[in-house]
């Protein structure tokens, strides 16, 4: 009973407060970093350095009229934002964000992330379908094709990690990296493929074809307003957090530092959490940085990159890693 209550509390804290909170800060960071990159100042009025801006945005979303257009499929229309947000929150559960602090420390680890994040495509494509307009439908179709295409490369780029470590459990992967050094130094090509695919999976620029505003108005969430739109928005940012967390855990040593051994006990947990936060902050910044640097891909270029380059390349990396392990293992 205490175990169940403790887990529930853990889930509420992470999924109800920490992730949305971090996503809110991320929205602020996105706006300020984009402003800085474009030689502007960005929102700096609400609160210190504009930090309360996301709260103002949220209030605006809440007080906006929640329009359900007459031409939509109502059931699916209401369901889609939730179907987009819930997988985003669930996928984070296996990530060990501090020492021993994964919500679900399961042995299938990363496979669960892939399984859950595949479901996220339903939220987006159903949202596009339910909107019953050409723009949102095209956005939804693009999203499903893109996410399915890049899932292969994403999954295949993680296989070398499992080959090297020999486990799927995330804590085990972190422990291996603590003992042997960050996996990115062993598997740099795999990390590059992982990074590019994760940008495509989270629908971030340069792969934000599902919401390509220049051609599709706003893509799959064209017909959405108020908090329903905010849920899609939140889901995108939580996907970013999960993708960064995976990148850190699989390739950059997770919550541990190289050379320095963190103390045990409660302090160790807190410190390791801070280390993890610092590491994902860099990757979140990279997400934003890349977004405001690169232009959007054309759709055929996106498919070419996914199927003709990244997928074969990831297979080559898998084979090469397997061959390398076969050579060095007596």
């Amino acid at each position: 009973m205490t175990y169940v209550l403790g887990k529930l509390l853990h889930i509420v804290i992470v999924a109800g407060a920490a992730l949305p909170g971090l996503a809110a800060v991320l929205v602020w960071a996105e706006r300020r970093v984009s402003a800085f990159i474009q030689d502007r100042l960005g929102p700096n009025r609400v609160g210190p350095a504009g930090l309360l801006q996301p709260i103002a945005d949220l209030l605006k979303f809440i007080f906006k009229e929640d329009v359900i257009p007459g031409h939509v499929n109502k059931t699916l229309y209401v369901l889609a934002p939730a179907m987009s947000l819930v997988p985003a929150l669930v996928a984070f559960c296996v990530v060990p964000y501090a020492r021993g602090m994964a919500i679900a420390d399961v042995n299938v680890g990363i496979l669960l992330v892939f399984a859950i994040s595949s479901i996220a495509v339903y939220g987006v494509s159903i949202g596009g379908w339910a909107g019953n307009s050409k723009y949102s439908l095209l956005g939804g179709v693009r999203a499903s094709a893109q996410m399915i295409s890049y899932e292969l490369a994403l999954g295949a780029s993680c296989v070398p990690v499992f080959l090297v470590v020999g486990e799927l459990n995330m804590e085990a992967i972190v422990a291996w990296q603590k003992a042997n050094g960050w996996l990115v130094f062993y598997l740099f090509p795999a990390w590059i493929i992982f990074l590019v695919s994760s940008y495509a999976e989270t629908n971030r620029l340069p792969f934000d074809l599902p919401e390509a505003e220049t051609e599709l108005v706003a893509g799959y969430h064209t017909e959405y307003s108020s908090m329903k739109f905010a849920l899609f928005f939140l889901a995108e940012y939580i996907h970013m957090i999960t993708a960064s967390a995976l990148s850190v855990t699989l390739f950059f040593g997770g919550y541990e530092l190289p050379w320095v051994t963190l103390p045990g006990g409660a302090w160790g947990t807190v410190l390791s959490g801070l280390v993890f936060f610092g590491k994902i902050s860099f990757f979140l910044f990279l997400f934003i940085w890349v977004r405001w640097t690169l232009p959007r891909f054309r759709y055929d270029q996106l498919m070419n990159l996914g199927w003709k380059i990244l997928f074969p390349a990831s297979l080559v990396v898998v084979l090469a890693t397997a061959g390398w392990i076969a050579m060095v293992t007596p």
Binding site: A35, F36, I37, Q38, D39, L41, T293, L294
Partner: protein
């Protein structure tokens, strides 16, 4: 061949081919990232005043204002001379020249005419909802009493506040050094 069957001279234009490095993209992506991060730290430095020249082009509006040129045509205002006397003699030239009829003057006469001036405006009103900032009043004024000042942001919550009365006009215009000084000598 063209329509008559003659051979057409053609020139093959060589299209530049992307090199392998360009086709891999990563070098150019890194170049782009370095460019944007330079701008990022440029504005980041502005916040802590690292540099003498700011990178950010944003003007922090209510605190920072535009530096208008002297010939800027803002709101019309009345001015006083250096002795604090009103220069307007209520000739009503501006009122007559005003294209949108924004100016209304109620002239009054001085009891004594010792000081060369016979009239003064009892009330002087400019309806800023009608004013088109043309500057004809400034041009027409024979006494150099009305000028377009640099005040450009007129914000009120009540319609009647847009009618500038004499007090408001003198407050906006202030004192202007005068060469004529009609009050002392003709």
């Amino acid at each position: 061949m063209d329509r008559d069957g003659d051979a057409v001279k053609t020139r093959v234009v060589k299209r530049p081919q992307m090199s392998l490095g360009e086709r891999i993209y990563f070098a150019t992506i890194v170049k782009g990232l370095l460019l944007t991060i330079r701008h990022f730290f440029g504005v980041f430095g502005d916040l802590f005043h690292w540099k003498t020249k700011t990178t950010a082009i944003t003007m922090q509006y209510p605190e920072e204002r535009w530096d208008f040129k002297d010939n800027f045509r803002g709101a019309p205002a009345l001015v006083m001379d250096q002795f604090g006397r009103e220069k307007c003699v209520a000739c009503q030239m501006c009122e007559f020249v005003c294209p949108p009829k924004a100016i209304t003057i109620w002239p009054a006469e001085f009891a004594t005419t010792d000081n060369n001036v016979e009239k003064y405006p009892d009330r002087f009103e400019i309806d800023m909802l009608r004013c088109i900032y043309c500057g004809f009043c400034e041009e027409a004024c024979p006494e150099e009493a009305i000028f377009l000042v640099k005040e450009a942001e007129l914000v009120h919550t009540e319609k009647k506040d847009f009618i500038h009365d004499k007090k408001k006009l003198y407050q906006m215009g202030g004192i202007r050094e005068d060469r004529i000084l009609k009050w002392q000598h003709k």
